[in-house]
Amino acid sequence: MARSPFSLPALREAPPRRLAVPSAGVIALSTVLILIGVLGGGLLSLKGQQQAGKIGGGALRQGSQQVVASTITRLETEQNDLKRELADARAQLDQLQTTSAQEKDQLSDITSAIAAERVGAGLVPLEGQGVIAVFQDSSAPAVPPNEDPNNYILHDYMLRDVLNTLWAGGAEAVSINGERVLATTSLYCVGTTVICNATRLSPPYEVHAIGNPDALAAALHDSPQMQQFNLRAQIYDLPIAIRKEVKVPVPAYSGAFALKFAHPADNSADGALTPAPTQPAPTPTPAPATVTPAYAAPTATPTKK
């Protein structure tokens, strides 16, 4: 049995003797002590409750129920708003991720398409089997009297014949003195030099062509387009050296492209171009265009530029 204060001998033994005649002093003292006890207990208890109130309970019990209700309402509204905003943000992010993935696919498609177009546009240096042909002005020590010096030098139209011959012979890429020949490339004489891609070229003219080496070499030797050039070369000692190579380098075009006048055609509805017509059947031409070379007989003075 635990020793409680009530089991103390003092409490059990004292009252029977003293209860009958409590002195006034004792009563006063007891009253004071009880008062102190009640007040002290009250204070202690109050303090404990104030501490509890700081956590919430006490203040709520004292405070207005309205504040509590409006706090709860406010927080619930906030929660609903947050939930909606979260859902919206997730949907938006989802959309962005999808779009981003699509754009990445599109980007890689376009990037590889551009890479392919760059090869066709001559912006990529190429190499492969082909021929290297070197053409020079006459090696004759001097132009004989009464001869036209023009016959002893190379002209733009002669080099154009070379290029046309190579393309017709199946060349895939061609350059002349390091200038890539493009769809917009022209060759024309200015004085004794040839302008190509706005660059001045002078002899010897070294033409690189990638393609079937045998076909290209044969074309340069034998094609009708080269007939006059080859004849003149023989007569006036214009050195021509054609060699087949396993690895012919053709450099990239280094100039600028500017399409100022051309626009993609409006292919919408009625603006559309009709499909390419089937090639008309060969028409019997009464006076067919001759295959004779570009310029007059070698002995004649070229009348061109």
Binding site: A14, G37, G42, H263, A265, T285, A287, A294
Partner: protein, 231 residues
């Protein structure tokens, strides 16, 4: 009250009673209000709401940061994409792979002279004068294109046979192209000196925005059997 221990004991009991009594007095009026029966529940509900709202705000902030990142990347990506699409279109125009239109000149060539040479020279002259794209009898010229004649004298462009009258169409500055061909001592004069009345060449500038020259794309598909990009 003779002994101090007894007095102290009574005091302690009274103190205890006081402590026990005060909550009784205090809690009585609160218990009378039914709306306030579970303030502790309300407190814990409020703090729950606080916590979950706080958590949601944090994840919302994180989501919004992600969205901002994606959008920034997308703006960059889209303009990048647009400029790449434009680059690709330009390349395709240059390579003759799309139909194009624009101002320029039309050159009609007819006659029994050396039409192959005339066409080759005209093409070269038009290119030298800034022609951006050329077609011969509706066959678009690309870098590999060449006008030749077969053994029977029929004209071929890219191995397709073409028949007279021959029509060269070039997109570029109409005035520049026209003047380059028609000028004194220019190519047309030279060709006419060489071939005389055997050849007939007529240039028409085309400057009407509403009726531009239209060039169809090439039918050729470039094959690369021998050429490889340099490493």
């Amino acid at each position: 009250m003779k002994s101090w221990p007894a007095r102290l004991l009574v005091s302690a009991v009274c103190l205890l009673l006081g402590i026990l009594m005060v909550p009784q007095f205090r809690s009585q009026p609160v218990n009378r209000n039914p709306a306030d029966q579970s303030p502790d529940d309300q407190v814990s509900y409020i703090s729950q709401l606080y916590r979950s709202n706080e958590t949601q705000r944090v994840s919302l902030d994180a989501l919004r940061a992600d969205i901002a990142k994606y959008e920034a990347a997308r703006i960059g990506g889209s303009s990048n994409l647009l400029s790449l699409i434009n680059d690709l279109q330009q390349m395709k125009m240059l390579n003759g792979e799309v139909d194009i239109s624009g101002p320029g000149v039309q050159v009609r060539v007819n006659g029994a002279g050396d039409v192959v040479q005339a066409l080759q020279d005209l093409i070269n002259e038009l290119r030298a004068s800034g022609a951006e794209a050329i077609a011969v009898n509706d066959v678009r010229l690309i870098s590999r294109s060449v006008v030749t004649a077969d053994a029977d004298g029929h004209l071929l462009v890219d191995k397709q046979q073409i028949s007279p009258p021959y029509l060269l169409e070039a997109i570029g500055d109409p005035t520049t192209l026209n003047n380059a061909l028609e000028r004194k001592g220019g190519l047309i004069e030279v060709l006419q000196q060489q071939q005389g009345s055997k050849i007939e060449i007529k240039v028409t500038p085309r400057n009407d925005v509403k009726d531009p020259i239209k060039l169809r794309k090439t039918a050729l598909d470039l094959k690369w059997r021998y050429a490889k990009p340099t490493d």
